[in-house]
Amino acid sequence: MKRLLYVVVAGILLLCFTPGIYAGALEDIEKKGEFIVGVRDGAIPFGFFDANNQHVGFSVDMAKELHKGLEAKLGKPIKLTLKTINPKTRIPLVANRTLNMVAGSSTHTIAREETVDFSITVFLTGTQLLAKKEKGFKSYKDMSGKRVGAAQGSTNEKAIRDLNTKGKIDPPAEIVVYQEHTQGMLALQKDIIDAYCTDGILLAGLKAKAPNPDEYELVGELITYDPYAYIVPEDDSNFRDFVNIELINIIKDGRYYKLYEKWFGPGGVVPYPMTQEAETLMKLQAWP
């Protein structure tokens, strides 16, 4: 009995500590035959659940296009698995290779570059505030002494805290931190907070999906510059090159603009015309 116990314990320890050999995302995908992509569930219209509770969205569609390109490149059918992630988990999950990629609404920042890599920019926006029209807020300065919600760990939460500490909002706003946008929107709806702070385009999406969109309005100027990109594992040039080249192809042959029209066009889920800067950016990013 004693010997059996020792063997079992040794076996468990061995299993735990055997390092896995990780080559690269492309090899991993080919071996497993599965492309695992993280997508959002509250970031309208980049990734959310439709009435049938299926994953839909601009980034979800982009991921599907990338998936097609992946199958073409690897020359075999690959299964596309979409996993739900939130602002807190998206970076750790790519850093520890649970996901091959995150296609959502992640801002490309220098700080994040230490842990993961990013694709080229797919969308341009910035931090803004969403509030009820009846409050009559005009800019972030109106937030002094008010309650502002944000998602834990997001760039927006850091931006508002920065505004507080730098004295740009005086007296400082009270920041209420939630785990995700759906909670924040709920809090805003119930007047638990005066405004919710996240990227402008996401706010437009939350507003569009609210039971009564006309009650809300986007407030003020862009507090930060937020270029969206897709998250890929750190130090995996092969995979990153593949993603970037595929994205460039999608831009060059017009699929990007079609998808943009579908989600952000006049008939789309969140009407948001492409700004001049965004158009120029997309053109310039498409390397020959």
Binding site: P19, Y22, K88, I91, P92, A95, N96, R97, E114, T115, R147, Q152, G153, K158, V176, V177, Y178, Q179, L186, A187, K190, D191, I192, E234, D235
Partner: protein
């Protein structure tokens, strides 16, 4: 091994160290306040369950069953998002806005009620193990029902169920961690906040774990002291059977 650069110094570098300390203070406050409220409520509800008055007994039974059989997280969400809308609009607004730290106090309500239902169960068990003789003896000396409970039964029952009560006290402090889901800036929240800024998840979570282990030791020690001070010599025999 996957690429993960350990960096233990983030635990005490500013401002992360200070965040951690703030979080610890919130945890301790939350646990303390909820524990005492839950104790008081729990004793009352537990007593209700053994009184001869049927309406009180039924109320106690329903209270205990409802709050014990629903997960704490669900209860917290309910108290934070759903319940205040039942109140009149002005009180609801005061609750969310006028009250400083409203998230903290809403969690106090939710956690205290949850814990009180569990304490009520223990108190009930303790009271039911006291033989009827004590009760009749007290009544025959001229105590009223209320006085009997207040001076004889409840003190006796509380001493009997000290071990489960210690466990419940530990549980309360552990349950404070759930408050992070509704925006309370306690220890677990702070550890995840540190993780969000530094991506050093393992160090931050380990620091939080050490905090909770420390709290556990402190609670066990303190409750042990309380038990010793409250003990009536010879009252509770700890040998084999009853």
């Amino acid at each position: 091994m996957l690429s993960y650069n350990f960096n233990w110094s983030i635990i005490w570098t500013e401002p992360y160290g200070q965040w951690m300390l703030q979080g610890i203070w919130v945890t301790v406050r939350l646990g303390f306040i909820c524990w005492f409220i839950a104790l008081a409520l729990g004793i009352i509800i537990g007593t209700f369950r053994v009184t001869p008055f049927r309406p009180l007994r039924i109320f106690g039974a329903v209270y205990t069953e409802v709050f014990r059989d629903i997960p704490l997280l669900v209860q917290l969400f309910f108290w934070y998002f759903a319940a205040p809308s039942i109140l009149p609009k002005s009180i609801e607004m005061w609750l969310y806005r006028g009250l400083p730290d409203s998230e903290f106090w809403i969690v106090v309500v939710g956690l205290s009620i949850y814990t009180s239902s569990r304490i009520a169960e223990h108190i009930r068990a303790g009271m039911q193990s006291i033989s009827q003789d004590q009760y009749y003896a007290a009544l025959s000396t001229g105590f009223t029902h209320f006085q009997t409970y207040r001076f004889i039964i409840i003190p006796y029952a509380v001493r009997i169920v000290m071990p489960p009560l210690t466990a419940e006290c530990l549980t309360v402090f552990k349950n404070t961690a759930l408050a992070m889901t509704v925006g309370v800036l306690e220890t677990t929240f702070m550890s995840q906040q540190i993780e969000a800024y530094t991506f050093q998840g393992i160090e931050a979570t380990t620091a939080a774990s050490l905090v909770y282990m420390g709290i556990t030791l402190a609670v066990v020690f303190l409750m042990g002291l309380v038990e010793k001070r409250l003990a009536v010599p010879g009252l509770i025999t700890r040998s084999g059977g009853r």
